[in-house]
Symmetry: C2
Subunit: 229 residues, 2 copies
DNA sequence: CCAAAAGTGTTGTGTTTACACCCATGG
DNA sequence: CCATGGGTGTAAACACAACACTTTTGG
């Protein structure tokens, strides 16, 4: 009789998503007002339970899509949170994921219906359960990941200015960066294309738009792009 | 009726441990010969199921202690593996942990009884299920962690020579390091104490023994010791 | 013509790498 | 006395950090 591990305990597994976005006000995360007990009305990450016939990655993707309407989003598994009393209702282990989205692309209708809201990471409400820990983890991981892989572009529109890119890195790393040094480091990586097109909204002179050149980046097959900021 | 999420699926959760050790032959991991079906007789990581009343960290610690007799071991959660068909017997999500132990300290009787064996990481058998992935993950994480936190010492005896430390880093990073540069980097961190005691086994001249000075390290409260090797 | 942001290089400092010889000792 | 590993410093190349002025143009 070997087709089950019959005497072992089974538990609930959930995923919780830390959804990052970026705009000219800084780095933000998307939170939802919980509409069921316990902790109804408190702010929470977006989550859901793992179904028996899906992987954790699938579950995280499903949850993200459900709340934002988005697909093909950069997501990464963070950590499994498993303190026995972390959820007062039932024993639940939660695997946290973070996602990087272009804040302009998601379905604003959808998030309004869910009572969701973007919060600046420096100005966030207290969250339920251990969700604050999850967010802290996510920010640490995002800092590491952005200095190691070109994932920052996921948070920007397809075409962006150097100023936007600079401000993105400043927001993620939470420190001021030198404009000239930053630009020459980025240029030395040789993974952007400069377009013959300017963004005229931010200044009279206008500033050039750039795009991330994924082909070029992949061709280099760096396993680590070591952006030492 | 709010004291359960009653309609959600429950699943089995297990932990699997990648146990690293180091000796003069290199970096090793401890594997066990599986003694039940399926895959009886194949090599496997040491694992066990999560019990309802313990956290994942507790479960990992319990499993490690069960197989090695060790306590107070450096362990870190790696990643949750959740492909639907990863375990043919039953739907099981497994959270991988890695541990760093001083290979001389564990209970050799115990591991003999369990049909366990140390394998050099460059010379490992194929493992069951997705355990090879877990090991690959663990090695990557160990590389990152050792260049960022002083965890390498967990793999060495309390007193060790510079040569041992050098060879440890060479084994972890899988590359040759320059002896003089390595020693001056380590010394510049100022976290070792040089003892008035030599190891006379490795050479006629004898080489000085060192200890990691945790107090000194903590006092500096570096959040990252940036050993750029 | 002026306010506001864009764009652009150089220099000093510190870090990293490459490299080779003498020392101490047990046998 | 010699074989073996232990221990030590310097110079060149490179990467990083600090720094300020000119350009453009809409209003």
């Amino acid at each position: 009789m070997l087709n089950s591990y019959s005497s072992e305990d089974k538990v609930l597994l959930s995923v919780d998503c830390i959804i990052f976005g970026f705009d000219n006000e800084g780095l933000k995360i998307l939170l939802i007002k919980r509409d069921f007990e316990p902790e109804r009305g408190k702010w929470s990450l977006m989550g859901g339970f793992l179904k028996k016939e899906e992987s954790l990655n699938n579950a995280a993707t499903r949850v993200l899509n459900h709340y934002t309407g988005l697909q093909n989003v950069y997501m990464e598994q963070l950590y499994a949170f498993s303190e026995v009393d972390r959820d007062p209702v039932d024993r639940t282990i939660s695997v946290a994921y973070y996602a990087l989205i272009n804040i302009e692309n998601h379905n604003t209708e959808l998030i309004k219906n869910y009572d969701a809201e973007w919060f600046n990471i420096s100005n966030m409400p207290k969250l339920i359960f251990d969700h604050d820990d999850m967010v802290a983890h996510a920010i640490r991981r995002l800092r590491y990941r952005t200095s190691t892989k070109p994932v920052g572009f996921e948070l920007l529109p397809e075409k962006f200015t150097m100023r936007q890119l600079l401000e993105l890195y400043e927001a993620i790393l939470d420190k001021a960066l030198d404009k000239r040094n930053f630009i020459s480091k980025i240029n030395s990586l040789d993974i952007l294309v400069k377009l013959n097109e300017k963004d005229m909204l931010s200044s009279r002179k206008g500033s050039y738009l750039y795009m991330f050149d994924k082909e070029k980046y992949d061709a280099k097959s760096l396993n680590n792009f070591a952006l030492n900021l």
